[in-house]
């Protein structure tokens, strides 16, 4: 076992797969010689050569579109979009091409590619380096959508995503790229600075897609979260001293309803936490599914804590980023309802 940050774990996954499968290639803006602006691909070009790890022009629809062309011939492109915010020029290639090629060709062509992109806020990135666009992908039939919250999962899920026969959107929460999240302006609460970096095996292993994990067991309330928000939930639960169960969704599409429903039926309370904007956010989907399956078990309405319905601000970053304080309030309101 090695100690890895999420960046190192993501790199290790690509390293393992480049080594294992000659059909895997890595491309994107700055990913080659430099190793990516977040250094996720550092060293890979040197190790595998410029034909397998290379820089692309600044054109996201070209990055994804070329990936589609390669994947439909059986290669396994693992492409990087520098920030999730920059995938919009590629949105057509992602949603109407990569996602649909299997279906519209009745299986004559398939598109086994991974589109990696750093997501979320917490690094003072302003409007175009902070968005959480997962709901724009979970709305699209034919895609799979993954978001890890730990180095261990990041590596295992990325390997599974590269081996998956369908296109996978792999969202990497950049707030926890370099280590655990331990700061928040409104925490007088326990930080999580002492959280271990992440024990990650060096070699090949897979973490199955479409399976949530129970991050913390509890009896009082179920909190559904993913990515950085798992740690915000944890901080809130510790501070509020509630016996909450935290479910880390890991894969948003397809969703592991079984794990969610079992938990909510046990705790009879549910709240949802995500960074993306509230209206038509992924939380709305979760609420719909949970109430359909658990209506008679629920003792209170399901609350959600989300990003506000406004563009992500720069100076007021920490007023936008959902923090423990808001989560604690939502937990209390749910339990006292």
């Amino acid at each position: 076992m090695a100690q890895m940050t999420m960046i190192e774990a993501v790199r290790s996954a690509m390293d393992v797969m480049l080594e294992k499968d000659p059909k895997v290639i890595v491309m994107g803006e700055d990913v080659g010689y430099f190793g990516g602006v977040f250094r996720c691909t550092a060293g890979l070009q040197k190790k595998y050569g410029i034909e397998r790890v290379f820089d692309t022009p600044i054109n996201e629809s070209a990055i994804v579109g070329m990936g589609v062309g390669m994947a439909t011939q059986g290669m396994r492109p693992c492409v990087e979009v520098q920030f999730a915010d920059y995938m919009f020029p590629a949105y057509d290639q992602i949603t109407q091409e990569a996602a649909r090629i299997r279906h519209r060709s009745a299986g004559q062509f398939t598109c086994p590619m991974v589109i990696r992109m750093p997501t979320g806020g917490g690094i003072f990135g302003g409007q175009t380096h902070s968005q959480s666009p997962e709901a724009l992908f979970t709305h699209v039939a034919g895609l799979k959508v993954v978001q890890p919250s730990s180095p261990l999962d990041a590596k295992g899920l990325l390997i599974a995503a590269i081996e998956d026969p369908d296109p996978v959107i792999f969202l990497e929460p950049k707030r926890i790229y370099n280590g655990p999240f331990d700061g928040h302006h409104d925490t007088k609460s326990v930080g999580w600075a002492g959280h271990p970096l992440g024990e990650v095996p060096e070699g090949y292993y897979k973490t199955p897609l479409a399976k949530a994990s129970v991050y913390r067991e509890g009896e009082a309330i179920t909190i559904l979260a993913y990515g950085t928000m798992v740690y915000v939930a944890e901080a809130a639960v510790k501070e509020a001293e509630v016996d909450a169960e935290i479910i880390d969704l890991r894969t948003l599409l397809p969703l592991d309803l079984e794990t969610i429903v079992a938990s909510v039926q046990k705790t009879r309370h549910c709240m949802i936490l995500h960074e993306g904007t509230r209206t038509s956010g992924f939380g709305a989907e979760l609420i719909a599914e949970v109430q359909e399956a658990c209506f008679y078990h629920l003792e209170a309405p399901i609350k959600r804590v989300t990003g506000w319905d406004a563009p992500y601000p720069h100076a007021q970053e920490w007023d936008y980023f959902p923090g423990p304080k808001r989560v604690i309030r939502a937990i209390k309101e749910t339990l006292e309802a």
Partner: protein
């Protein structure tokens, strides 16, 4: 037989000797000034060559120099030097301020000052730049208050954008500076639409689109080229070729295959290529281009050939991907030094006055900076109200945002 494909690599990496031997620049003064109605076909030579005015000794030579005329020139050049020095002082101070944690982020335009400073002076009120994050020099030369500039860098109460945008993504309509998006390329096609509206509503205003060499690969660049070629609106399509897009050299955007200017010819737009480190060449070419577009002769592409001296941004480490000495080796020199030498040759400036000027301008900048810092920086945050998040999303705040604002407790 297996087909070899091409993966471009730059001529030098860290540890190598900088190599610009593949750049063939003509001597200053060899190109004539074409008629305003020049066609794309006739512009081929201008798209592949380089308009230059200042020679090695700092003298202005050739037809483009004559085109500038003498009337008011010396004052304009002295002002240009001043603007460039101010820009450079701001860059230096903000790099430091970022390192000290007073601001989150900064992007220097060091080495490219001549382009924005000379260009801006040829615009009229009502003209509109559609800039990128590296054209602060357009703002500085337009007389944009330092108070607002620093206000945004520090995101305090003087920030005209109330803390919403990254420090270098300005918006200053009254100064002909369109609001900057973080997504590359989007502004380029908007500039075409703006120019079309200027024509359709009967004004004689023009627009100026700006893009980096790297971002010319983006969809919106090509969209702009097609629409500008079709409708022929009064737009100047600027490409600032500073050789690097973060770690990717200009060849990754196709720059080794042809000049960025010559692509304009392919779209049917007259195109010229200009030494962007030559203040007089920038001035002359801009004078010609603004006359052409304002005169109704259609769009024009200008490739400004320059070099990005600083790292991409304060988040970037340029020494990881290019030789440290590369900026020094750039064959077109430093725009400030070249203009300084020219003014000395004219007897309008001296080394001593330059030294004094640099110090005075630095003092002015520091004074403005200190005044701004007193109102709060990221070390000493006096954040704007969090409720600003909800303001201006729509003209009138809808109920759901009012509820969220209340929920926030702001």
């Amino acid at each position: 037989m297996s087909v070899k494909i091409n993966f471009p690599t730059p001529s030098a990496r860290p540890g190598d000797i900088p190599d610009f031997s593949n750049y063939k620049f003509p001597d200053p003064g060899v190109l004539s000034v074409p008629p305003l109605e020049m066609t794309a076909e006739e512009s081929r030579e201008y798209a592949n060559s380089l308009i230059r005015v200042l020679d090695k000794e700092g003298n202005a030579v050739g037809p483009w120099s004559d085109y500038l005329g003498e009337e008011g020139l010396e004052d304009a050049l002295l002002q240009g030097l001043r603007d460039m020095l101010q820009m450079r002082a701001i860059d230096a101070r903000m790099l430091n301020a970022q390192r000290q944690g007073k601001t989150t982020f900064y992007l220097q335009c060091t080495g490219e000052e001549a382009i924005g400073c000379a260009f801006q002076k040829q615009l009229h009120p009502g003209d509109m730049n559609f800039p990128t994050y590296r054209q602060q020099s357009l703002l500085v030369a337009s007389g944009y208050p330092l108070k607002s500039l620093f206000g945004q860098y520090y995101q305090n109460e003087n920030d005209p954008l109330s803390g919403r945008q990254l420090p270098t993504l300005h918006s200053a309509k009254d100064y002909g500076f369109f609001t900057i998006s973080g997504n590359l390329g989007t502004q380029y096609v908007q500039a075409v639409g703006w120019a079309m509206a200027a024509a359709l509503t009967g004004t004689d205003n023009i627009s100026a689109a700006w893009i980096g060499d790297g971002a010319t690969a983006s969809n919106d660049y090509h969209s702009a080229m097609v629409t500008a070629a079709v409708y022929k609106p009064p737009v100047i399509l600027n490409v600032v070729n500073n050789q690097w897009a973060i770690s990717s050299f200009s060849g990754i955007a196709g720059g080794s295959a042809s000049t960025f200017a010559s692509r304009g010819v392919g779209y049917g737009i007259p195109s010229i290529r200009v030494d962007g480190n030559d203040f007089l060449a920038v001035m002359a070419a801009t004078k010609w281009a603004t006359k052409r577009t304002r005169g109704g002769f259609g769009p024009v592409v200008i490739e400004w050939v320059t070099y990005r001296v600083a790292a991409h941004s304060t988040s970037d480490d340029a020494s990881a991907y290019r030789p440290k000495e590369e900026a020094e080796a750039w064959p077109l020199g430093d725009p400030v030094e070249r203009l300084k030498q020219h003014l000395i040759n004219r007897g309008k400036w001296s080394e001593a006055r330059h030294k004094q000027g640099v110090a005075e301008i630095m003092d002015e900048v520091i004074t403005a900076q200190k005044e701004s810092e007193a109102l709060g920086t990221f070390l000493n945050p006096q954040y704007l109200s969090p409720s600003a998040i909800f303001e201006g999303v729509y003209e009138e705040m809808p109920e759901h945002l009012k509820r969220q604002r209340q929920d926030m407790g702001a």
